[in-house]
Amino acid sequence: MKRRTVVVVGAGPAGLAAADGALAAGADVVLIDSADRPGGQYHRMLPQAYEARAPEAVQHGYSAFEKRVRRVLGHPRCSWWAGAEVWALERTDGAEAEAGTRPLATAHPEPATTAHPEPPATAPAEPAGARRTGPPTAPPRPEHAPPLKVHVLTPAPEPGAPRRRHVLEPDALVIATGAHDRVLPFPGWELPGVVTAGAAQALAKGERLAIGDRVVVAGTGPFLLPVAVSLLEAGSTVTEVVEAAGRARAARGWLDRPWELAAQGGKGGELAGLTGALARHRVPYRFGRAVVAARGDGRVEEVVTAAVRADWSVVPGTGRTTAVDALCVGHGFTPRLELAVAAGCALRPGPSGAPADVFVDVDDEQATSVPGVFACGEITGIAGAPAARTEGALAGWLAGGGSPYARPVAALRRSRDQGRAFARRLARAHPVGAEWHGWLRPDTVVCRCEETDFASVCAAAGDPASGEARVAKLATRAGLGPCQGRVCGPTVAELRHRLGAGEHPVDPAGHPVDPAGPGPHHRPVAVPIRLGELARPPEPPAGEHPEQPHRPAQSYLPVEESGP
């Protein structure tokens, strides 16, 4: 019998675990990532050309990660497509690619053969979150029905040549595309030297570049800690970490029920290590403050912070100016949903309930509403790497045809539920306050690409002729630039909602619009593709063409096994 094929998009903690799980279940796996090395943002690897002899010095949990990378990428049934991008998903059932058009169903492929997925790293205790469904009872999905065509671009074989197009038709698709930083606008956030917290982290960990000498790290959430520590490690002076959440709220969120934290793959120990590093460098960690402006001539030179209340309204008279040469900001994360939306996966509202705060809706087995399509990691909820790994292992095992009744699956489910509880706790401790727009001025840039200012967004929201989102988009151009609303989308949606231009009342036919609709995540062309590339015919499918990129990453795998 032909083996099942599983395409996994994203090689971060979730995607790598999914590939591992699908391989364990006996499937052929194609693992696709836009970076040239696996690991995603959490395990961002140093460039191969650095030939680092101690890469573990800047990586949390490096040895387990490296072992998994070797096992997955070195597996004879795994094809690793590095530097490749999925630019479109095409539904093969003729249904319209629209989120929420199908009831949630569970895909149960063939029963397991022999292997079992890796058991969860932590001993599961009591399930911390309620599960939505009981034991799986849904009927198996019809065989020989590929859920989707996956359109991929792989790097050009030589510099200057066009990228190659491929079309894959797997038996199952696992989407593990992760998330990127969300940054709320403030006056001056477009100045060079103002970067996302993730950018500072990626440059420090991934290239050994310190973004500045005197740096402020600001925003909200536990991610600010490792970013500050990465900067210190790279030799920057972090003058302060500015956390908008109040001290009491953050402490409640973090310190309540510490056993939940311990269950998240040693998050408690990681937290202690990070806070210890900040203390050693005497970096002040200020709660209840926010960056409300950045200033400078051609680049950031100073940062204005102010005390904020629980709703993030600014307390008058508390402004303070700090000289910096870089500012790193992160106000949480935006899931990268374009592929899930293109697949037609139903979404669900996120913890804040704000418009555009949506995630992929998955059932007890990480299955989305589209048969054969699974989702895992940050696109199902922001819960950190350990939770992403568990979700990935579950998704990959089931996508690969593993039995839902296999013993490790129950343990993985329990661990996953703990991860979801952790996500809820994160969201509770670090909500984005509703009054953040109080620090915007009329001329503050809201959409970086099109330089749409706050006044224009307000004017469009108040104008009945442009009250509809699409009209407003054309009128203000917010979201129409090269990034296609990835940066400003959630912000504009939230601002318009606040300004009374209700983003989801009724559609032109009078039907209520789904509050968990794709909104700004609807991008049928998921990444830019050049017309010349589009015009070329796709390469023949795997196995029929000798030049098919098959396991090119082997070149980087060390020849001999090392470590335990």
Binding site: P47, E51, V58, G160, A210, D213, C449, R530
Partner: protein, 130 residues
């Protein structure tokens, strides 16, 4: 007073630096093999290399290929994300500007004056969704 590479001799990851040179609008800029073009530019003290619609300077923002603030032209290929492209020795980088772009043709802005001639014809710009 600017971004810089952790010196190899002090680096806890014990890396090996292999120098390379790229040109930026014709000016040689030194880098290290493995760096992204954004990394090369930042480490060389350039925090901005693109201008937005209003002419304001832009450089790196998201650092992971999401925001498109750091676009450059590389060896004649337009709209390359500098944070996603590893530098190769001899890369000819030319800076881009959207300052005079027609509002509905964002990919068609001319390169900044003084840019080196493109060795190969620029491919068609990426299509933008309506």
């Amino acid at each position: 007073m600017s971004p810089r590479l952790v010196p190899a001799r002090d680096d806890s990851v014990r890396r090996t630096d292999r120098p390379l040179t790229v040109t930026v609008d014709g000016t040689p800029v030194p880098g290290v093999a493995g760096q992204t073009l954004a990394g090369v530019l930042l480490a060389a003290g350039r925090t901005a290399w693109r201008t937005g619609r209003g002419g304001a300077p832009r450089g790196v923002f998201c650092g992971i290929g999401v925001c498109f603030d750091c676009l450059v032209t590389v060896n004649g290929e337009r709209d390359v994300r500098a944070c996603m492209r590893r530098a190769r020795d001899g890369d000819a980088v030319t800076t881009q500007s959207r300052a005079s772009a027609a509002p509905d043709a964002p990919g068609s802005a001319p390169d900044a004056p003084g840019s080196a001639p493109a060795p190969t014809p620029a491919p068609a710009p990426a299509p933008e969704q309506p």
